[in-house]
């Protein structure tokens, strides 16, 4: 085959790969086809990688021995590490693993851009190429360090509470300004407006990459652990954009298409999650009220008294109910109590109680994470109900069991004038009786008292989610 034919074949294979990504994502619309969708996307990836290898081997100059070694050893080590960690990670630790994978993806994009820049700076790159290269390097660096910090926070290696760099937001802004100035200098240099020697440009690039890395750290550190899902989603979108930038540099359609797809999806997810928490993305990134104390708490006084309930009493209520709705939240995910909740639900079902789960869109540590955790504990998928679907059913529910969920159950959200006004909530207060498993009367993420807890219908079972559920199960068994 002539060279033109070979190039055409490789290019078409890339397009097939890109089409697989789009169709695969589309199939992830529904639980029934989602797994196939992911596999289709993986097939597309395999096609794109093999086509690239084929193109490199048959291309002008072929592939040198060293290049072969780099690619094969890199694939083996990276692929092996990815395979092993993905197979062995516990499902509760899965959000941080996704964050790590996002970090290495961003790192790879940054390294590709840096290497391109070094090569181009000696040859003299065009203005547009330089723009994409520098953007790829900056965005990739930010995602690399930012995702590592986000993963560290979720893993508990770094405290989840907001941490402020010396100088606070000013430091972050200053770092961002230096990165921006460096980027502009490089672009002006490529455009001929500035005379830069090739060693100067490399130093400036080093500075830009370093400030990008620092910016990733100072951006994520002040954000509270509960907001990490939004941050990971945002960084995921960044990585996609960085990959697309790399695609512009090497004129590769599959990189551009996939990068843009991921950039769009990460953007949508980020916005959906922020909406569900009644916050703007900017608000979260700026450290919003996650770190503020006392400012919003004064809105509601602790009116009414709290009624504590014992595990035995709670068990009797549930065991003799017609239907029970379980509301799992962040506390359940943290306590890793998904197996205990399923055990309790099965005990109740064996007594003829109808059990459903009400899943708030942001329950858990990532959107949809609660579904994954409960699915892992073998909770049948049809029992998991989304907010819009379950909310009317609370009116008919005999008992609502709230496990480690707080702000998403606070009726105060229906009134204007407080920190969570307008946030979509689960209508837990409509149930005939409410049991809340909670460690203390501590406030939720928004820093507000939950009016649900002082509702006369509510009984508080003060316990860790895991212990509380286990105690309930024992009590139900004993009935």
């Amino acid at each position: 085959m002539s060279q033109e034919w070979l190039t055409t074949v490789v290019y078409l294979a890339w397009l097939v790969g890109a089409a697989c990504f789009v169709l695969g994502l589309h199939q992830m619309n529904s639980p029934a086809t989602a797994r196939n969708g992911n596999r289709l996307s993986a097939v597309g990836m395999a096609i794109a990688v093999v086509a690239t290898l084929f193109g490199l081997v048959t291309g002008p100059g072929g592939l040198s021995g060293i290049a072969w070694a780099i690619i094969l050893v890199g694939l083996a080590i990276g692929g092996g590490a990815g395979w092993y960690t993905a197979r062995t990670v516990k499902m509760t630790a899965m959000p941080q693993l996704v964050s790590i994978f996002n970090a290495v993806g961003g790192g790879a994009a940054a390294l590709v851009a840096i290497d391109d820049f070094i090569r181009l700076s000696s040859e003299g790159a065009s203005l547009s190429t330089t723009i994409f290269v520098v953007l790829g390097a900056v965005i990739g660096s930010v995602t690399f360090s930012g995702s590592l910090i986000a993963g560290g926070k979720l893993q508990g290696l770094i405290p989840g509470k907001p941490i402020y760099a010396p100088g606070g937001q000013l430091t972050t802004i200053a770092v961002a300004a230096i990165a921006a100035i460096g980027t502009i200098v490089l672009i002006l240099g490529a455009g001929g407006a500035l005379e830069l020697t090739s060693s100067t440009t490399l130093i400036v690039l080093g500075l830009v990459v370093a400030t990008g890395l620092i910016f990733g750290i100072t951006m994520v550190l002040p954000i509270g652990g509960a907001d990490m899902p939004v941050v990971i989603s945002l960084l995921n979108s960044f990585t996609g954009t960085a990959a697309a930038m790399a695609g512009f540099v090497i004129q590769n359609p599959v990189l551009i298409i996939s990068g843009a797809l991921v950039g769009a999806s990460g953007g949508i997810l980020t916005k959906l999650m922020a909406d569900a928490m009644n916050r703007s993305v900017l608000n979260i990134i700026a450290g919003g009220f996650g770190g503020g104390e006392g400012t919003v708490a004064a809105m509601t006084g602790v009116g009414g008294s709290v009624r504590a309930v014992s595990a035995d009493d709670a068990a009797i209520q549930m065991a003799y109910a017609q239907n029970v709705i379980i509301v799992p939240g962040y506390g359940l995910a943290v306590a890793q109590a998904q197996h205990q909740v399923r055990e309790l639900a099965e005990l109740l079902e064996s007594r003829g109680v109808e059990v459903k789960y009400a899943i708030h869109p942001v329950a858990g540590r990532m959107p949809g994470h609660m579904n994954v955790l409960l699915a892992e504990a073998n909770v049948p998928y049809p029992q998991l109900k989304e907010m819009e679907e379950i909310n009317p059913e609370f009116d008919r529910a005999d008992v609502a069991l709230v496990v480690g969920a707080n702000d998403v159950t606070n009726p105060a959200a229906r009134r204007p004038g407080n920190a969570i006004s307008g946030m979509p909530i689960l209508n837990v207060d409509h149930a005939k009786s409410i049991i809340v498993i909670k460690r203390s009367m501590g406030r939720g993420y928004a820093g507000m008292d939950n009016e649900l807890y002082t509702d006369p219908k509510t009984g508080m079972l003060f316990a860790d989610a895991k212990e509380g559920l286990a105690a309930l199960a024992v009590a139900v068994k004993a009935l």
Binding site: V73, F101, T239, G364, M366, G368
Partner: protein
């Protein structure tokens, strides 16, 4: 700008729009697998890493290309495997035994 670049820009913009269309229809329950699935797709940067590996001709480039390839491969393989593990769990349990025990229990409860 060169015609090639303009074509690339057109592809970029259209792909963003396709991404919005395809993804905005996903139910919230699948958002975590979706995030993970999208996360594996940006592992496509592995292709870029292979490109720089093929052009590398000095120790610095060798090193950069090697790390980039390793990172990219980890992103791709790990991303798809962990997404598959998540989605594997969204299976429906056989409902027959549950329904049986449910009706039996209900009659018992009404009797009580």
């Amino acid at each position: 700008m060169s015609p090639d670049l303009l074509t690339s820009l057109a592809i970029f913009v259209l792909a963003i729009l396709v991404g919005f269309e395809v993804i905005s229809k996903v139910p919230a329950t699948l958002h975590t697998p979706l995030m993970s699935g999208a996360n594996s797709i940006h592992g496509i940067v592995l292709v870029g890493a292979m490109f720089i590996a093929s052009q590398a001709d000095n120790p610095v480039s060798y090193l950069l290309a090697f790390i980039a390839t390793t990172f990219g491969a980890m992103n791709v393989v790990g991303g798809y495997v962990v997404t598959d593990r998540m989605l594997q769990m969204f299976r429906k349990k056989p409902t027959a035994p549950k329904a049986a025990s449910g009706s039996g229990g209900a009659s018992g409860a009404s009797g009580a």
